[in-house]
Amino acid sequence: MNLLFLPGGLGIALVFSGYVLTVNAAPADNRQPLYVDAGQCVFDMKSNQSRCAGGMQVRQGSLHIDATKGTVFRQGKRVVRIELHGNPAVFRYVINPQDGLMVAQARYMDYRKAEDLLILKGNVMVKNPTLGTFSGEKMVINLRTEEITGGEGDGDQRVHMVVEPDAENLSNASPADEKKADSSAQSVAEQPESTGTAGKSAASPMKAKPPLKSHPEKPQAMESADD
């Protein structure tokens, strides 16, 4: 489902599956040194891996990851993959300065750096000022094609989304827009694959969860997200 046709600036909670969301992307942080701080590490020269525990932080440019433990995989000189575990692990990244800081959290993260993929599993939540908040059991963020993919369509793999209210858009929104948005949300909720989870999600919208970050929210521009 393409989210771009949904009017931004309306506080709605949606439940759907198998969506692909596009964001603007691609900074050059990958060329900068990558720093890893940890309590302890086992550094295996033969397999070219470093397995760390006791709290682990990864930094590279705007990328900042906090985890309890993880493994850095290299091929030759390049870091190709970082596997992370946490309660939750938190991944902060400025995909594009215009889109602001993306914060993703999950119990397990597989940052496939060489492929620009971030695979998130277990209590996943992704928040971005432009896109809103997503939650589910599994999501994949493709940092190269600028896509967020999630939800396999069954059971716990559903993805939940909240579009944060935007004060400016909210004040300018006409009653007709609100009605249209309500009907869109209702039609999604009434899709056959949507089960009781939908009602549960609507009753406890994601925005009610503790905030993921303290930086100010940017004005939303949902229409540009599909560019």
Partner: protein, 193 residues
């Protein structure tokens, strides 16, 4: 004058001078590296080179030192400016250098002290490794090394520091015990969309 011959007077003066010199030598301040008087030197040698191997010949150690001192009552051998190469069949060698060290002949352990530098010598650039620390304990028989001190590590496109480390030299697998900071010179280019 007491009427003694001049040669006797000169002899007496010479004896007094010699005795004074001897007392000065005995009582003068000792250099820092000199052992306490209770330690009796068994032997000492300078500009030493040698090779040690275990019973089965699986590995051996080649060493150089500016000075080697062995005390009668100790098994340990003090080494100044040691340069040690640890060799094992079919394995890359490890080279150690330090300002001084102590070698336990029985256990074949070496305790390196002051500006210890360790280098893995191999043609495979991916397995090159260098690390430095203020001290390092090396067990030649098990090819393990250990330090509690801050260690600096350089590998291919990677630097690390940690407080305390255990080095499995045989498997080139190393445990950094605390306060680990690693920096990868990630030369990868951000792929074009």
């Amino acid at each position: 004058m007491d009427g003694r011959p001049a040669w006797q007077r000169l002899l007496a003066v010479a004896m007094v001078a010699a005795l004074s010199y001897l007392l000065w030598v005995i009582n003068r301040p000792q250099p820092a590296e000199t052992r306490p008087e209770a330690f009796t030197k068994g032997y000492a040698a300078t500009r030493v080179t040698g090779t040690l191997s275990n019973d089965t010949g699986e590995y051996h150690i080649r060493f150089q030192a500016r000075e080697l001192i062995q005390y009668d009552h100790k098994e340990d051998v003090d080494i100044l400016a040691p340069r040690v190469t640890m060799l094992e069949q079919g394995q890359p060698s490890w080279r150690f250098s330090a300002h001084k060290g102590v070698f336990d002949r029985q256990e074949q352990n070496i305790f390196f002290q002051q500006q210890v530098e360790t280098r893995r010598v191999t043609n495979n650039p991916g397995e090159l490794l260098y690390f430095s620390s203020p001290d390092l304990w090396v067990d030649a028989s098990t090819r393990q090394a250990y330090t509690k001190s801050v260690v600096h590590i350089n590998a291919q496109a990677m630097e690390a520091t940690a407080r305390g480390a255990e080095f499995d030299l045989g498997n080139n697998r190393h445990r950094l015990l605390s306060e680990v900071h690693m920096q990868y010179q990630d030369s990868g280019r951000w792929p074009s969309p």
